[in-house]
């Protein structure tokens, strides 16, 4: 199979393979714009710069046509109708619009919302805000493998529950929730279903009908499109209403005002179409790389722990904890690869990942976790270099670690009375 590459349009040289930069394995944080996508965006910054809301001349019509084509492309990717797509600045805004907008509209019916402890902050922080406004939110626990317990989920539904929000594919551990079952339960109980499908789109099939979603958030920059663009799907049949959160010229049928960024929208549309086209080929190739990475690490490094289900997981993600090494020093040692860690070491808080804590992982293991995000442009050579680096650096840090020495001597670390400090 041909290795996809990012080629600079002018120099025709590959852009991502650069020995002076770390190997990029953080595709769940963001992705580069696919050159095929970029090419389609560029004319809308210069030649076709019109405002899609200008109804009286050709500049506006050209922009509007481009926006509507993209709306169709995103709708097709979600198996939705284009009239159900609302452009936003990204998935964070889409989720704010979905949860606040629906909560405000339906607050007369009830004030209870259900979500999971392992959701993205866009959902969790929006729920916190709704709590401050008088709504009540249940943050459900997940099981050790990151999956929702459907019985506990159904049991959490109350007569006054109006919305449930569930992350389709988790951004840290790549775990896929049983969305069809969740959708069925919610439809039975007449509870609105919001889905954060940011990490699902382009990785696995996303179909708003199959999962009976009422609202769905997606983002451009996770699917090889530009940053600063996203969309909210809002179901028309049966009709779902959301109150606008941004007011102005009444764009997007009044749900989200603001001049539409044509080039971004064109990029999102093109990226969505390409993501669906390439989904199977990408997933197959990436899955092989992920398995190679996992095997390489497990063959070379003892005492590693996979976080989250391997069975119900997208192939693009691997999340592993390395016991007996500390997370921040691990990230420091791995400066030649760009990855995310479960340790929020860049902040002063030193809080370990709340997602891994929700799986019941200890602080130590949560801190020493690494998220490998594999993507369209990852090469086998990069995976092999990563295995080498991980094996070498973890080995070096363990040489330094008194805990590793104690482990090798057979001392149970839990049997020791550590002084708190």
């Amino acid at each position: 199979m041909n290795q996809p590459q990012i080629i600079d349009l002018e120099s025709k040289k590959p852009l991502l393979i650069d020995p002076d930069r770390p190997i990029y394995l953080d595709y769940q944080a963001t992705t580069p714009v696919d050159p095929q996508v970029l090419e389609q965006m560029l004319p809308y910054l210069t030649h076709d710069f019109g405002n899609a809301a200008s109804r009286s001349h050709a500049y506006g019509w050209t922009a509007e046509k481009a926006v509507e084509k993209a709306r169709q492309q995103v709708a097709d990717a979600l198996h939705a109708d284009p009239r159900e797509i609302v452009w936003t600045s990204g998935a964070t805004e889409a989720t704010n619009l979905a949860l606040k907008g629906a909560a405000h509209f339906y607050s007369g019916k009830g004030k209870h919302i259900i979500t999971l402890r392992t959701e993205h902050k866009a959902t969790l922080d929006t729920c916190r805000q709704l709590e401050r406004e008088g709504f009540e939110v249940t943050y459900l626990e997940v099981q050790e493998d990151g999956l929702l317990d459907l019985k506990a989920f159904e049991a959490a539904i109350r007569p006054d529950t109006i919305i449930a929000s569930v992350l389709f594919v988790n951004n840290e551990i790549g775990v896929i929730q049983p969305m069809e079952e969740i959708g069925r339960i919610l439809r039975t109980h007449k509870v609105l279903f919001h889905v954060d499908a940011v990490q699902a789109l382009g990785k696995i099939p996303v179909d708003v009908e199959a999962i009976q979603a009422d609202m769905m958030s997606v983002s451009g920059h996770k699917i090889y499109g530009p940053k600063g663009i996203g969309a909210l799907y809002v179901r028309r049949k049966p009709r779902v209403r959301v109150e606008a959160q941004v007011h102005g010229g009444g764009h997007e049928r009044g749900m989200r005002s603001g001049t539409l960024p044509t080039h971004q929208i064109v990029g999102m549309g093109a990226a969505a179409e390409l993501a669906v086209q390439l989904m199977d080929a990408d997933a197959q190739r990436i899955g092989k790389l992920r398995d190679r990475l996992l095997k390489g690490i497990q063959d070379r490094v003892e005492e590693t722990y996979i976080n989250g289900s391997m069975e119900h997981r997208v192939p693009h993600n691997l999340n592993i904890s390395f016991a007996f090494v500390e997370g921040e020093s691990l990230i420091m040692a791995l400066k030649e690869i760009a990855v995310s860690s479960g340790s929020a070491c860049t902040s002063a808080s030193l809080e370990p990942s709340y997602v891994l804590r929700a799986l019941g992982k200890s602080d130590e293991l949560a801190h020493s976790s690494i998220r490998f995000g594999i993507g369209r442009f990852t090469t086998e050579a990069e995976i092999d270099a990563t295995i080498e680096l991980i094996a070498g650096k973890v080995g070096k840090l363990r040489e330094l670690s008194p805990l590793w020495e104690m482990h090798l001597e057979g001392i149970d670390l839990n049997s020791i009375q550590w002084a708190a400090h």
Partner: protein
């Protein structure tokens, strides 16, 4: 997080990594910190008949600053008497390594590790040093 060049140097080329026989009466071992807090330091000193620290070894589980703090301390205690070693303060360590405020606790831990190692050595030697003296040293920070 931006690290000072000194932290990076100690982190990449840690000095005196290793272990000594903790049952040797001439060796003092201090282990401080806790895994759940993200750092555990073990400092060991070998003291000769003149009461001089002639060798020091460490192992540390912790961030780059914790590794650097303990590595630095092994260099500093060598050649010192126990009383001299006890005068090393966390502020000296933090200053030398240019630690940012969020990493000051690493230097505090390194100071604690010296005290714990000295205390362990003295308690093994038994006579000559009262517990009160050790306790006084401990409350000094």
């Amino acid at each position: 997080m931006a690290y000072s060049e000194k932290v990076i140097d100690h982190y990449e080329n840690p000095r005196n990594v290793g272990a000594m026989d903790k049952d040797d009466s001439g060796v003092g071992t201090g282990m401080v910190g806790a895994p759940a807090c993200g750092d555990v330091m073990r400092l060991q000193i070998k003291v000769n008949e003149q009461g001089i620290i002639e060798d020091a070894k460490f192992k540390t589980y912790g961030c780059g600053s914790a590794i650097a703090s303990s590595s630095l301390v092994t260099e500093w205690v060598k050649g010192k008497t126990l009383d001299e070693a006890m005068t090393i303060k966390n502020s000296h360590i933090a200053e030398e390594l240019e630690l940012p405020p969020v990493k000051i606790h690493c230097s505090v831990l390194a100071e604690d590790a010296i005290k714990a190692a000295v205390e362990d050595y003295r308690s093994k030697q038994g006579a000559g040093h009262s517990h009160a003296e050790v306790a006084a040293a401990q409350v000094a920070h």
